[in-house]
């Protein structure tokens, strides 16, 4: 959910924020897509939906931002917010045998979304999100 629906995306700021996290670019480039992290996320274990898998969430949020760089759109961030807020509780239990800090990446994707006014409005419609997340 976003607060200022029509506001422009500050692509320069996003790019700067991405540059701050060089290690995350390395994480993303070396993730072996092995899927080992799936079972360490209790949300995945509950829903058994691959979209809850930690690396799926990181690749499709921060990974997408790294790929698109200056071409990020608001719609993209809105879609991402469903993953990073709706499908992760930031418990940092996810475990990658390579030592990749997956939740750190999801957290940074959240931070970037938040700087663009895209965040979870728990105060407005928390139940809507929960229903959506449960599909």
């Amino acid at each position: 959910m976003s607060e200022n629906g029509n506001a422009r995306i500050d692509n320069v700021r996003i790019e700067e924020m991405l540059k701050q996290k060089k290690r995350m670019r390395i994480f993303l480039s070396l993730c072996a897509s092995c899927g080992f992290c799936a079972d360490s996320c209790f949300l995945y274990r509950n829903y058994k939906d691959p979209r809850y898998m930690p690396s799926y969430k990181a690749i499709n949020s921060l990974g997408k931002l790294f790929k698109k760089k200056r071409k990020v759109t608001r719609l993209m961030l809105e879609e991402m917010s469903d993953l990073v807020y709706g499908k992760c509780v930031m418990c940092r239990r996810c475990y990658c045998p390579l030592g990749i800090d997956i939740s750190g990446m999801i957290s940074w994707a959240r931070t970037i979304c938040r700087t663009q006014g895209v965040y979870e409005r728990y105060d407005i419609d928390p139940m809507g999100r929960i229903k959506k997340a449960a599909v």
């Binding site: 390395i26 993730c31 092995c34 899927g35 691959p50 475990y95 045998p97 390579l98 030592g99 800090d101």
Partner: protein
């Protein structure tokens, strides 16, 4: 052709491989800094050397701790992965034929395993690779994060073994297959430094040297 791939091409791939490893190492090293001394020191932190290791192993190998790792969550695939990685490194290094070539060129050789052992290792490796492929195609979680790149890399890793097996058993035209074998081996070496296969360096660096909850404890560096 044969002379080229055994001569300059081999050198090129070794050099790219070594440079790739150094580059990967540098890339990670340059964004880490010395770990700060903890402001709160736990009592058992005074343990040094063996006592520390023993304590760590006790803790890490306890059933509770193991439950959270892939050994606890997916023991079969973890074992598969372990065997896969041991074979991919040990088979080419300790293969008799490779060591004979090495000796012919440099009068230097490593310890060699018997040919039947490496033959079995090759088959085991290929079986693991096949199971990985099946897993990638059919397990929804793995499929969700797999792209063409991942399939390609699995092929790059398996190709030297497939061609090596065919060449050793002379199942197809030897002259051709040995050339393909050498090229695929060289490609794999080159790929280590430039692609996801670089996790070879990343794994050891991060899990041994970086002190965080994702390392095997007590590394000396931290992310900057």
């Amino acid at each position: 052709m044969y002379d080229f791939i055994r001569g300059p091409m081999l050198w090129i791939s070794f050099i790219v491989f070594m440079c790739g490893l150094v580059f990967q190492f540098y890339k990670i090293f340059s964004i880490t800094g010395k770990k700060e001394a903890p402001s709160l020191i736990r009592k058992d932190a005074n343990n040094k050397g063996l006592a520390k290791l023993k304590k760590y192993l006790n803790k890490a190998l306890s059933s509770v701790a193991l439950k959270g790792t892939i050994l606890g969550t997916q023991p079969f695939v973890a074992l598969l992965s372990f065997i896969f990685h041991v074979c991919i490194i040990a088979t080419p290094l300790f293969l008799l034929a490779h060591n004979i070539l090495l000796f012919e060129s440099w009068r230097f050789r490593l310890f060699s395993l018997s040919e039947s052992t490496t033959d079995i290792m090759t088959v085991v490796f290929l079986a693991c690779a096949a199971l990985f492929l099946i897993r990638r195609i059919f397990i929804p979680t793995v499929r969700a994060v797999s792209g063409i790149y991942d399939y390609l890399l699995l092929l790059v890793a398996a190709a030297p073994f497939i061609t090596g097996f065919l060449a050793y058993h002379q199942l197809v035209d030897y002259e051709t297959i040995i050339i393909i074998h050498i090229i695929s081996g060289e490609l794999m070496l080159i790929a280590v430094g430039l692609t996801k296969l670089g996790h070879m360096i990343f794994f050891f660096f991060v899990r041994l040297h970086i002190g965080s909850e994702y390392s095997f404890r007590g590394g000396s560096r931290s992310w900057q």
